[in-house]
Symmetry: C2
Subunit: 750 residues, 2 copies
């Protein structure tokens, strides 16, 4: 376990040898999160932003507000896949603090507008290999809490504090010693296959800098604009590709081959005078960045901005009130909530302007445009969670998805800054939108919604056309044919549900039939989902544990892992197995068999293994809850508890796999409360087993829904015996969203 | 000489074997430019857009309106430097018709949104080497006139006609035969070091396509958006890197490595049914392109759009009415006018939105934003010409330059789509703005203007800081030190003139002194401009005819060519030579000495040689007029006539060098009328010798200024004997802008 909150000033004292806090930075102590200060901030104590920054969690520790545009966070020099968030806890070198980060993805991008305080001669400080200023740091001198991050860089004689508003990053640097305090701003910094293609920087006056960084990479085309204002004047020197650029003129990264545009700001001697910078961001224009900054940060009061960020987090986290003596599980829970509330991110400017999927600016008059929809992951539990905690945001997210449809003719599969990365399979914007519609969380025209979701199902790419032609996807015609067939069938079930509610009988029939496609690929001989060729014959050489990353019938998985993907029709799936008994036996085998897999190219995403169950990746997330459908709920409870205990830990390596923009965390949130959205668009949450004595969910309608234990879970009474909803014994199966919204009390009796 | 106007329908008949014009295309005949149709269109007959499309003129023959955003013109597969406009008359292969072209530049760029009608199977039609559809054509079946271009592509069985509005390109294709008529739209096409970095295309419905092409290259970062609407429905197939992309989804060029985004539109059998496309352009957004198209082209009436384009050209060209029996020189003159009125180009949308130099959208509420300021070339004669013909545009051009200053802190040196190419030397936005100010053509705040022009002179790049430090630029500290010293001194003279008019005495003193810097580099021993080192000693191994492209003390020139660059102080220059006699002797030598140059890397820009005088490049353009300052005007007249006769011809190879966005042509316009702006910001036009019997200049204030010959120039009376302004004998030196604006009559007596 690692420390989550260290008082910044104390660290400064230790490192810089000061006898106490510097005068102007004492506020840092006052505003640091203190458990006993105000009840409303209490839950912030239970957030450890470092969870998942080690191992393969791919989270970042920096400062952010809920669903904020800005994620101001430290960046290490990347050493591979585990640095996709810019940061990995195993590292001890920093390149600086950039303003945008992805939380838990399997591919790296963003990391825009890198800012680094340093000392000495810039050119002499350049690392031979990296050609950048690199500074070592120690985790002992590093803290993070919601909306706040601090670190000491001993080589630079500087302590760094970061906080953020929705669209602004704020830095406070305390330099010591009498040499010149310098700040480097680097627009060329990129990671993974991200690459700056055009950069621009302009010193407007001696405290203000504006610019942009336009990059390609995972996001094909991503313009990011900024304005940076400092509380003290600077002189400046531009550098192009590491060489001085003697210009009073603005500096531009000329071509895709010379994007390394930097400026060094020199503030002179700043001993005991904190340097504060506020950096406004926009994805539309410099003017947009200026508007955003002006609207969100009036002056240079770091502490009040930090406090605002903490208040936003408190408000967000306090929607879930846990009563339980176990501080460790509370930390796991509130950190999971925290990680669930980072994305989708705010994407538009304060005046509604946003960068559309057609590469043009648009205005979102009536909604907040969000981006970062990692839908293959998040349709499962994250989006259903938001329908409970953030109905208003769900409304805007649906509008955002529909705007993408308006701009391109198709809903996104993975919207990264208005670019569809097309990285995963399925058209899972569909269940997200349908769920929101059926729960009454969108006022969009139903016909517009229907046209949008249907367009996905009628497209001619990614095997969807083949799916329509054959009723399943023959393996020789398309990679990942089994996974695609199963997921398209599921998405089509969502369209059918929408058609039904709109009285579109023909469409309901048509899509209901498509929703059954999963049945075609169930091989009764092996009781596994198996590919078929276009003649309808099973593919030969079937190897159920075989894996080869993105190159088989299964997506980041094997047959054992994908066999369970019919969350819209678990009963139908059980029938295929020949009934509950063989179904449960197969489930038991899944969890108990060897974790070994055939094949030389195991996807790094296949992690968190229990048998062949791989909790570190998404396709299986609903599986433990399937026991309930076969009257063996207790077996599921065992697995749920095992997963909660072993796959989620209060540790930097505390996530079993990529957090995937909150899906991994949202699984924990649901599973700790005590239920899970098996079918994410059904409005039903299937029961599991609660982690806590009590969780009170503060609903947006003002009501409270409480989930309690009665007769605590123990070795003697390990399983849920009975469940009462508002005093009445309910079946052991599921809770409806409608009942949840009504408020009341759900009691799990052991 | 080549044909300028061939009746489109006639050509179609010949090639396609039709017995007459197809029914629906007969209008093409009616609206083709006919000399005797209407007096107002008469001058269009004298424009030959093919002049300069051969040799090194680098012009293009396509359809454009005066100063239009769209230049819809044919593109050949580039075979080198002479294809910078996309087209060279020596070629006989076409790749299609793109919507943006540079006229006469030495570097290639633009060529956005390539459209190609073709037949057959797209993939089979791809040229092995070029990986594009290539079609041969013959100049016999090609015509061009202001606002109109046509060609027949026999391999495709199609005749092509192009016309344009300010922001829209219009195509009319007449396919014959019964196979499928196809149109390819290619966003990956690029030339020179231009490269598409992100492309997007979306079929909105069966007659509409939208998209963008974002490129880097000479213009670091250039987004171009479009909407294309067709008068007939199509089916479509996207291609990515030449391979079918099976999507109903939009198609995006994924990365900088796979930008080749294409779509093939299939219109089926179109025999005798003309296919018309209208393509709206914008540099801000797809919405902008849609607005532009909607505002400028209501339906698919190609002929009426063509007629509007012709009317715009007639209006523009008729500002100069030539009375002269020599049809050949009239063609040279009106074509020179035509080429003078292509740039700067319209850059903003109809609603004022434009792409700013800070990479952000701005709105030009009160002015039209222009781009394409090739200032090193055009400050000399083109911009002064526009102060006579287009005062309103000059107003907007000044606002455009000042907007660039607002956005970046510096005026542009060479504004290419809001990117400063920094390709040439000097800060020649300054004389353009000062000239406009002193002529009363801008209402911008004088203090804002002064701050803008001063910022250029006080910048710390391109040796301007060195220039301030030493009073000249030492050769060892900066490349092209002599040329820069001379041109900075000239620009500073313009700032001094502005300072004087604003009563800024100190600034006037300061910049007047800087304006004298040219004197420091005049070597009295050689009577040539020569580099000095920082100790003030002449550089060793002085080789006056030595050239090495962009790598010596002189910019695209040698000492002989740059010695004359003090157009702001010819009298002072003459003094340096020791008086008029040695000055004239040196001038005589310039024109009469050998044209051979030392050095192995002769700049291709150094062309059009008479002795060492190189009319094909700009630095010498004022030189023939210098004789007038030394009382040897007649010698200048000889040279002016020689240049007019030999460097300008009604021929595809009719320009002595790059037209450089009209500067080469503007020289001819002035010189044919009879005077030239020696010092472009002085408001004085020094007399030469008129080409024509009479030129009537229709001024914007409603007055007419007529330039006439009395007693025609002939072998017996070759020189101007006397000049009368409104009947009064004037000196033989110059005409003031003020006198010109007053209207009246200037008579050259022979």
């Amino acid at each position: 376990m690692i420390k989550t909150v260290v008082k910044g000033c104390l660290v400064v004292s230790l490192v810089l040898g000061a006898t106490g806090c510097a005068n102007e930075s004492t506020n840092a102590v006052k505003s640091a999160v203190v458990k006993d200060k105000a009840t409303s901030l209490e839950n912030l104590e239970y957030v450890n932003p470092f969870i998942g920054t080690g191992g393969h969690g791919h989270t970042f520790p920096g400062a952010v507000v809920p669903f904020g545009m800005v994620q101001l966070s430290p960046d290490n020099p990347s050493k591979g896949w585990d640095w996709t968030s810019g940061y990995h806890y195993s590292d001890n070198q920093l390149l600086g603090f950039s303003h945008t980060h992805l939380s838990g993805t399997g591919v790296g991008d963003l990391l825009d507008i890198l800012v680094m305080p340093f000392r000495g001669d810039y050119q002499k400080r350049l690392d031979n290999e990296l050609k950048r200023v690199v500074s070592t740091y120690s985790h002992d001198q590093e803290t993070a809490s919601p909306g706040y991050y601090s670190v000491v860089l001993p080589e630079e004689n500087v302590s760094v504090e970061l906080t953020a508003t929705e669209r602004t990053g704020m830095h406070r640097y305390q330099f010591s010693g009498y040499e010149s305090a310098k700040v480097l701003i680097d627009l060329g910094y990129a990671q993974n296959y991200d690459k700056a293609v055009s950069t621009f920087m302009r010193v407007v006056d001696d405290t203000t800098l504006v610019g942009y960084r336009i990059s390609t990479g995972w996001s094909d085309f991503q313009p990011t604009y900024f304005v940076a204002k400092f509380n003290r004047p600077f002189t400046h020197q531009y550098y192009l590709e590491g060489k001085p650029f003697f210009g009073s003129a603005p500096i531009k990264g000329d071509t895709i081959n010379r994007p390394k545009t930097e400026v060094v700001l020199n503030f002179g001697d700043l001993s005991n005078k904190p340097l504060v910078a506020k950096v406004g961001l926009s994805y539309t224009s410099i003017k947009g960045a200026e508007k955003n900054l002006a609207a969100e940060v009036k002056d240079f009061d770091f502490d009040s901005i930090k406090q605002s960020a903490e208040n936003l987090w408190a408000k967000q986290l306090n929607k879930f009130k846990v009563t339980d003596p176990n501080e460790e599980t509370k930390t796991k829970f509130y950190t999971a909530l925290y990680h669930s509330f980072l994305a989708p991110q705010t994407f538009n400017d304060v005046d509604g302007q946003y960068f559309g999927a057609d590469g043009s600016s648009h205005n979102s008059q009536d909604f907040k445009r969000y981006t970062l929809f990692s839908l293959w992951d998040t349709f499962r539990a994250l989006h259903p969670l938001l329908t409970i905690s953030d109905g208003g945001r769900v409304h805007d997210m649906v509008e955002s998805l529909l705007a993408f449809y308006d701009e391109t003719g198709l809903l996104p599969t993975w919207d990264l800054m208005s670019n569809d990365t097309d990285v995963m399979i399925g058209y899972h914007a569909v269940p997200v939108i349908v769920d929101a519609y059926l729960k009454g969380l969108t006022d969009a025209d139903p016909e517009r919604i229907f046209a949008a979701v249907k367009a996905s199902a009628m497209q001619n790419q990614f095997g969807v056309d083949t799916f329509r032609e054959y009723g399943y996807i023959p393996s020789e015609l398309e990679v990942e044919a089994v996974s695609k067939t199963l997921e398209y069938a599921f998405d089509d079930a969502a369209i059918a549900a929408l058609a039904k509610s709109l009285g579109k009988d023909d469409e309901y029939e048509y899509f209901s039939q498509r929703a059954n496609a999963y049945k075609i690929l169930f091989d009764k001989n092996t009781s596994l989902m198996r590919g078929k060729d276009k003649n309808g014959d099973w593919v030969k050489n079937f190897r159920p544990t075989y894996v080869d990353h993105r190159n088989t019938d299964y997506t980041e998985a094997n047959a054992w892992q994908y066999t369970w993907f019919a969350p819209h029709d678990v009963e139908g799936l059980i029938e295929l197995f020949g009934g509950e008994k063989p179904f449960v036996e197969k489930l038991d085998t899944l969890f108990s068999m060897s974790s070994e897999m055939e094949g030389s190219v195991v996807s790094p995403d296949i992690s968190g293994l229990i048998g062949q169950y791989a909790h570190g990746n998404e396709p299986v997330h609903h599986v433990p809850y399937m026991y309930s459908y076969a009257n063996q709920k207790w077996k599921g409870e065992n697995r749920i508890i095992e997963i909660r205990d072993t796959m989620y830990r209060n540790h930097v390596d505390g996530l079993a796999g990529n957090d995937d923009l909150g899906q991994m965390s949202a699984w924990y949130v649901f599973s700790a409360i005590g239920f899970y959205p098996m079918n994410p668009f059904s409005g039903e949450y299937v029961f599991g087993t609660p982690e806590f004595q009590q969780v009170d969910i503060q609903l947006e309608n003002g009501k409270v829904f409480s989930v309690k234990q009665q007769g605590s879970r123990s070795a003697a009474t390990p399983y849920v015996k009975q469940i009462r909803l508002n005093g009445t014994i309910t079946d052991l199966h599921s809770l409806s969203h409608k009942d949840l919204l009504a408020g009341g009390e759900l009691v799990f009796e052991f």
